[in-house]
Subunit: 447 residues, 2 copies
Amino acid sequence: MVAPSLFLTENNIALATDLYQLTMAGGYFEHGIHYPSSFELFVRRMPQNRSYLIAAGLEQAIHYLLNVRFTEEAISYLKTQPPFASLSRDFFDYLRAFRFTGDLEAMPEGTIFFPGEPVLRITAPMIEAQIVETYLLAVINYQILVATKASRIVQAAQGRPVVDFGTRRAHGPQAGILAARASFIGGCTGTSNVLAGMELGIPIIGTAAHSWTMTFDTEREAFWRYHEVFPEHTLLLIDTYDTLEGARHATELGEKLRGVRLDSGDLVILSRQVRKILDDAGLHQAKIVASGDLNEYKISDLLAAGAQIDLFGVGTEMVTSRDDPTLSGVYKLVEQRRGRKTVYALKLSEEKATYPGRKQIFRQDHRDVIGLVTESLPGQPLLKPYIRQGMLCTDLPAIADIQERAQEQLHALPPEYRRWIDPIPYPVEYSTALQKLRDTIAGLRRV
Amino acid sequence: MVAPSLFLTENNIALATDLYQLTMAGGYFEHGIHYPSSFELFVRRMPQNRSYLIAAGLEQAIHYLLNVRFTEEAISYLKTQPPFASLSRDFFDYLRAFRFTGDLEAMPEGTIFFPGEPVLRITAPMIEAQIVETYLLAVINYQILVATKASRIVQAAQGRPVVDFGTRRAHGPQAGILAARASFIGGCTGTSNVLAGMELGIPIIGTAAHSWTMTFDTEREAFWRYHEVFPEHTLLLIDTYDTLEGARHATELGEKLRGVRLDSGDLVILSRQVRKILDDAGLHQAKIVASGDLNEYKISDLLAAGAQIDLFGVGTEMVTSRDDPTLSGVYKLVEQRRGRKTVYALKLSEEKATYPGRKQIFRQDHRDVIGLVTESLPGQPLLKPYIRQGMLCTDLPAIADIQERAQEQLHALPPEYRRWIDPIPYPVEYSTALQKLRDTIAGLRRV
């Protein structure tokens, strides 16, 4: 028995889905159902205390759509599973040749959006559109959650840089790199995750750990040894034994000291005392970095109380979106073409009802209107084509441009929609045509 | 610009770490510091309302330790990063040849444990032991969190099967498969994640979705069409339009109906009404599956209120451990051999203090004692060797055996330690020798 890696690869992502997607695929196939179908991904409810969301995760969704395949190993496994026993050989041949051949429209990453608004739409033959649901939700839900949380923390820091330190507390190693990406989109300056640095070009940032200090006989020696190797990059953790003593030891390194990090204790009192120690030694250039279970609420309180902190390292709270760690993103069938007939789909179950038809969002001044794609309403349409007939049809922006988009849109948002607690809901309306379509379809269904 | 996958592979896991691990590695290397060092991974605090934790994630930690390598691409990237500019060519040659050559001791997966108890210990040359910290924490923290949450939900279901439906709400696609594994360890019967089924042999389970029902002109037709393809596996979602009407339509399929799923509405009232409809039609064999933001508290309330549910599909709340989505797992230096001298390490910072020395946990009847490895105390020692000098030195158990271990240990735990709310803390003590060592070292440090 060898330990399995549980890594995702181009060879196994097709199975990173819920079983029912593949059994339904078999059912559609056996009935010859290949209707062009449109599904929309949207967020049902705002997470607690949030007043806006930031679109993120589209690049990984695109990578998936362009690469999803069923290998022989995957097909052999499916054949061993009882529900598939009744399916024809043709179905497995279909899976063998499976490619995503449909269209993807989506909001550009970094777009501010609100519940009910489609973040993306897939239009493809029914089986293709169905199978991709689970993976798209997994990769999009999480990045939206973290980009949004990060932007709140960045705002709380009032211009001071915020760096992602969260990999060790993310929900597994891949969540760490996804969080690094999403938090950068949300406004972080960098990440401690080296892989995110290499894969995405995000600035990587780090200090030192307690283990460094503990490896030398004295803290003083540990600091000097670090400085010898990294004379231009000396940023030391000073709370291993006694924070103020640590600060005094750090000042001995002189003017090349880049900064010190506090990771425990009362950050208001300690940061002010440490600042004074640094300043008294003439080390005005040395920065104070703070870390340790920080979030937007605590950072806001720290700064209001006069903490003297130059940079925040944020981990756990950001990468798990701790105060509300889930996003109610769903992916719903909205329209099918059955021969010459267009069928609009909607759910009527009370708390989970949906709107039918392919939609567009029209962004007006301080108001969004969700209409049908066939409408031409005032405002900026938010959904744009990314994949046509299975092929990428546009260039993807650099991540710095995505971050900039989010910042611009955030700044354009009136402050009452950016409060951390009890924010006002942003005005999002449904167009008259969409409401009418919904009432008509609901009426037909109820008959 | 092609969309990056952000997949982990054997070729990039070495960089799935915090920058400071690699800069400190450079610092140790330049100073010739290769002391054999021991780090222990333990959980600082119990998550909210938890009274025990379940060890999980060890297999993926082992896979990492046996496979971590620095590729030329990784090394080239590091060389472009400013902090590495001052490091010698020898350091990069060291990274090129890097292998984990140390030892791993750990609790078997499925072991019940408590805060302060080491879940695993790495003993290796300092650089190796340091570099692996971030990845080990990421892969272990999350699986412990989910295995523990799942076991609470399984207990709340009082013998009814619980199935993981959470992939779409997990923190990214890899978190989905890690959650499937961990929730199975915690007592779930299966998962909807097909990849987890293939990679781990976990039973996969699924029903049908609203999109299936909406693809046919009527719900009745949708149900029949499903039944035609899957006569032995007909488990239908009945809340697309009207749940009770849906139940009546389902009964028309007759005695081969396996069951129906409720995903919205008042599950107490609806499940009782649906049960009656099924029973009145003579379909006593048909099961009722419930899903929709369920957790241990809601399941407990549902059953107490008389809900007639046979199987629970649990997603969001379980795979995000929603009521407390983070685990305070840390990895701390405890001991170093510097030539002939053994140095015990500890942190004194107030709220994050640690105990020095390599430890063993001795499990006695309803009491754990944390002592030193050199002690021989009454009780069952929990930490066992897994890797010796970089090589796996034991067989790994099948996942069903891990699940069984957890169940056995849970059942042995008195009920007051298994309450969902306000549980009693389990008695965990430090041995006299360990306390004495700590006081001695702390005293020396404070001088």
